[in-house]
Symmetry: C3
Subunit: 255 residues, 3 copies
């Protein structure tokens, strides 16, 4: 499975299923990330919804195919929405992805992320700075595999190299572009894309690696025409919309 061609086929297949099925992804995310996240999902062919109102979040999640829980804002209103949404998710045995944004800057947020980890996310997407506060240990493949195994989740650790592991299977994806770290909500939008993939692929490890490989390739394509992070942000959305198997096969690299 580590050969780039096979990975490209999987990524192409998962992205094609997102495009043809149009899964609904309910996103409980921060207000900074909402717009870019919604546009990322639409570009991939998924359908975003974002409400956190207690009167209706259960109704929205019940009609969704996957849930994103992003901790970019840690307020009582969002915690309440998350609680209600997880209830609906568990009732429907729906996949969900956790994005523990910026937990290194707030002990309370980190504790809350650990509580959510115990609620059984299908996947956790995070960056190296968020790894220790959530899992303990260094953000390296061995630790990621151990905690994935211990927590029964897929760990997707993104950075220069994206590591995706479920404890027994691992992959390191070498795609992406440096400008990705200069666009706010790029990671959040990547987590949303993992959510869309989880909605169409029951193997959470395949879903997570497909979404992140696709986003990494889109970042490279965008980097070729962008003049800076502003035009890059739009170009990534364009590239996700235009991704096809040929582009993925030509570009995907494992490390």
């Amino acid at each position: 499975m580590h050969a780039p061609v096979e990975l490209a086929d999987i990524a192409a297949d998962v992205m094609a299923r997102i495009r043809s099925r149009g899964p609904r992804v309910h996103c409980i995310t921060n207000t900074v990330a909402q717009n870019y996240t919604a546009n990322m999902l639409l570009a991939a062919g998924a359908v975003p919804a974002m409400t956190i109102a207690p009167e209706e979040v259960v109704s929205f999640v019940a009609g969704a195919d996957a849930l994103l829980v992003n901790l970019g804002t840690f307020d009582a209103e969002r915690r309440n929405a998350i609680e209600l949404a997880l209830g609906a998710v568990h009732a429907a045995r729906m996949p969900w992805v956790l994005d523990p944004v910026f937990i290194e800057s707030s002990p309370g947020r980190a504790q809350y992320a650990r509580d959510l980890l115990a609620r059984g996310p299908s996947a956790v997407r995070l960056n190296p700075a968020e790894f220790a506060p959530l899992f303990g240990g260094d953000p390296v493949r061995e630790t990621a595999a151990r905690v994935a195994n211990a927590c029964g989740t897929v760990v997707a650790l993104t950075g220069g190299i994206d590591i995706v592991t479920d404890g027994s299977r691992h992959i390191a994806i070498a795609n992406g572009h440096p400008l990705m770290s200069l666009v706010t909500a790029m990671g959040c939008a990547g987590s949303a894309l993992v959510g869309a993939a989880l909605a169409v692929e029951t193997d959470a490890w395949l879903a997570a690696l497909a979404a992140l490989a696709a986003l990494g390739v889109a970042g490279e394509v965008a980097g070729q025409i962008a003049r800076g992070p502003g035009s890059f942000a739009s170009a990534v959305i364009d590239a996700v919309h235009n991704l096809d198997g040929a582009m993925l096969r030509a570009r995907i690299r494992v490390s």
Copy 2:
């Protein structure tokens, strides 16, 4: 009035009045849509404001020329802001437009939209999926005309073809671009543009068709240069800013 040339002249005239008068449009809208909606209004020459704080929403609405009520988030804070804003709108006999976003996904939101419909919006802009939960019946011209007549409002039903009716007058506008449905908040921003048009044109039917025809043409212009939904979103803003009578006359199509 159904001839494209006459429609183009009306749209050009309404857009020119927005540009010269710079009407203030107060927008109670969801956080996903706020930024794009504000930029759409600025591109057209209008002035957006977006606060929902109870301490000041009345003061802001009193200084505005039109109000947008978008139900993209259905929380108690926004409902309170809407109640206060509608009081100010009715006191000032100011036009307002209702956008019943995603009411098909939440019975509570749909009921609230029906309550607001009874408060006398100048126009309702919505898409086909939102039609039945608000009005009952199928989203077709005949039903739209009937409910517009019954509710005393203009119904602007947008999609591949935009239908605008006040019950006795109808038009079907065939402009637009498929990428419009892949940009979050495009419909919300269209409703805001209807609000800006209502501020400068007392005939709400003319205002709504002018705004939607202008946006449809802007979408087509943008579609010619966009590489995907990311660059398209910016290109629509550019095109609204650059719209003129010649562009409208060359492109507007009725169906």
Copy 3:
């Protein structure tokens, strides 16, 4: 100091320090402006954070290097966050910038801005319409200098010409582009850039003029390639990312 070349060197030096040090700027700002503000800071090399949750805002501000207080939404939640954040700022003797958005439209917001002015911001960035409600008097250099002196702050009054004064030193920067006024949150993002500059330059007057000169030049560069306000918004972000001393020296103009 008024010679363009010297100003360009200062602006280049401050922007280079932002890029090399990557200061954290905590932004309490409105939801319309959050995304663009975050991308502006990232483009300059700074690190944005935006939470207003009472449980963690103190923790975030304590780890930041500067604070932005933007009054674009005047709700109880944000006022509470501002109170907590200012406590952390004063404890750490951290610089902060006040942006009294739209106070001309709400007497309550204006009163609150005057209360905050008494709390000792390092700089106040505002536009002409916001000047009288905050300071009284006309938005001209003489009044700005007088109130800067009286309040012990730097006043940065932006418009066609940007006036930056600390009461004894004044500069009028003639850079910028008309499209800047047609992009929502451009002023807010400029205030955030002032915050980033304050984090790396203890002379608040130098910090404010460096940030605003850099943004004005970026606006001019963007204006040369933009097709309207949509592409302009992205192009400004690109230009801030690509700014260098040569570009600043070639373009900065004082008036």
